[in-house]
Amino acid sequence: MVGVVFDKVRKMFGGVEAIPALDLAIADGEFVSLLGPSGCGKTTTLRMLAGLERPTSGRILIGDRVVNELPPGRRDIAMVFQSYALYPHMTVGENIAYPLRKRGVPRAERPARVRAVAELLELGALLDRKPRQLSGGQQQRVALGRALVRDPQVFLLDEPLSNLDAKLRAHMRAELIELHLRIGKTMVYVTHDQLEAMTMSSRIAVMKGGVLQQFATPAEIYHRPANAFVAGFIGTPSMSLVEAELSADGGRPAVRFGSVAVALPDGHLTAAAAGISALAIGFRPEDILIGEGAYTGTVRVVEPAGHESIVIVEAGGVALTVRVAGDRLLRPGETVPLHVRAERMHVFARDGGHRLNADRPMPGADPLKMTPTKERT
């Protein structure tokens, strides 16, 4: 079993505490994304795992081994860099063969292994070219090939798709998913793109300010965000987060923002909500419906996107993002009735941001079934 464990890992840069205390356990064979905004510590975490940065304190384990003191070359890992980091003076074949050379693989064995990886990644015709003669997608595949050729236990990928155009990025996402299904190795993937994380990962570790916010499946993160930051970071378009107050509406508990009061369904809040009246509530774009409803709003902006339109509606003095079908015609300034699916409303404490609403059943299949052979721990 080759999982990865971060045990109370702390990282200081001079006097700056980049990562206070990270506890994270990645199971064998998982595809885990480290997701967060720039400066959240995800790349630092990956580099500590790779051995390119030393933790200030704490332990990092790969399998059963504590690897803190091991150099990168002895951790049985491979890494794909955001910049690809192909050796410019070597050909594609030499780039892929370099890890084999450094590990003392017999010279006679190397060409066959390089060829096998090249065929897998459709690089066979490019082995004699230099990196500067390749397109972005080809360079990225060479970087992948250099990682694959060693057959490591853990793959580390640091935003490898960020330099590709949108169409190629979508294509490479699918290829990476397929690759993971085929080889079944543990993959740790750093990205700031929540779409990449949601579509590719068994689990996502959302980070902010060096602190792990939530470590869960994409479905859980989307439907049961641990706090307001995770709720607002995940989802395209973003969740509409508004400040609200807990009040009573005709004797029933309700949340009020501006002139709008939304009654809370029974059992919607957990015990953690006791005594808290300053709230932040969140609505996913699909949880507000334009049509029949008890509320009204004014259309401010319509963003047609083909199969759907994203509409900014002002209601109760706040702007809400709503998703409508692409053939629904709306005009800015138009007054529309709104229906709020209160049972899907997310409630957070305004002070601290932690979630106050109870778990609700998650729709759809569990993305965990993407992991082919390994059981989740």
């Binding site: 051995g51 150099p71 491979a78 980091a85 192909l86 410019p88 003076h89 003669q133």
Partner: protein
């Protein structure tokens, strides 16, 4: 922007005139070395010798210690270049990649030494060589030339290495290279244009330097070409011009060959394309 033909012709004429003016001393040196003695001071002077003779070259090679001085210069220049390149590349790598107290102060002090005129160091260096027992040896010149070539080498190589993406080394470390392995496999090839520039600069400096060679060595067995040729061919009342020109031509050949061989490395794009974005 397309120029008119007249402007193109005018620019070319001016350019070639400048080239000719700069190259004329060299050309005259070669021509003089091939003229017989009788034609040397002829009025009017002749650009093309009436008779081409290689007797001056033969006399320099067979009747003077020229080959001994050539050997000394070659040993001196090659050794100084090797020392400066090795220390310079390792030192520049340290200044760029490692973090330690006083790093920037050290870099500043290195630059400061380069600002001093070389002549102010002659006496202290001479006394140092005497105290080390190295006076009148090639080693004393190697140390002296390293003193004023190394600061330039460190700064030039530092800027070259700073331009090499750290990801390349990180990738090499992850691929299994040691720190020194990554330095040899990845850094050195990427820094090659800088290393060659440094080597060229140091070689030319060592080959052409006169003042320190005059002060620090005074035996024929260790004299380099610069002081050796002056010593053997230039006396107070007599200068053997034809031999001097022949010796000068032969002194220039190694520099021309080395520069011609290495200049393509200076201009080729070694680092392009390996790192995206």
């Amino acid at each position: 922007m397309t120029r008119r033909p007249a402007a193109t012709i005018a620019i070319n004429l001016v350019t070639w005139a400048i080239v000719l003016a700069v190259a004329m001393p060299l050309l005259w040196m070669v021509v003089t070395s091939l003229k017989p003695q009788s034609e040397l001071f002829r009025i009017p002077p002749t650009l093309i010798p009436s008779t081409v003779t290689f007797e001056h070259y033969w006399r320099v090679l067979t009747e003077t210690p020229f080959l001994l001085y050539f050997r000394n210069s070659m040993i001196l220049s090659v050794t100084t270049t090797a020392v400066v390149v090795v220390i310079g590349t390792l030192g520049a790598y340290s200044l760029v990649r490692f973090t330690y107290p006083g790093r920037e102060t050290l870099a500043g002090l290195v630059l400061f030494t380069y600002l001093l005129p070389s002549v102010v160091l002659i006496i202290p260096l001479y006394l140092l060589m005497v105290s080390l027992g190295l006076a009148n040896t090639i080693a004393s010149l190697v140390i002296a030339y390293t003193t004023f070539a190394l600061p330039y080498a460190l700064w030039l190589l530092r800027s070259f290495m700073a331009g090499i993406p750290e990801d390349l080394e990180s990738a090499a470390l992850v691929d299994g290279a040691s720190r020194i392995g990554a330095f040899v496999d990845i850094i050195l090839p990427q820094a090659l244009p800088g290393i060659i520039s440094t080597a060229l600069f140091t070689f030319i400096l060592s080959w052409n330097e006169y003042l320190y060679a005059l002060v620090l060595v005074n035996s024929d067995s260790v004299r380099p070409l610069t002081t050796g040729v002056m010593n053997m061919l230039i006396a107070s009342f007599n200068i053997e011009w034809s031999l001097l020109m022949a010796a000068s031509v032969m002194m220039s050949i190694p520099l021309i060959v080395i520069f011609a061989f290495l200049q393509s490395y200076l201009t080729s794009g070694f680092g392009a394309g390996g790192v995206k974005g």
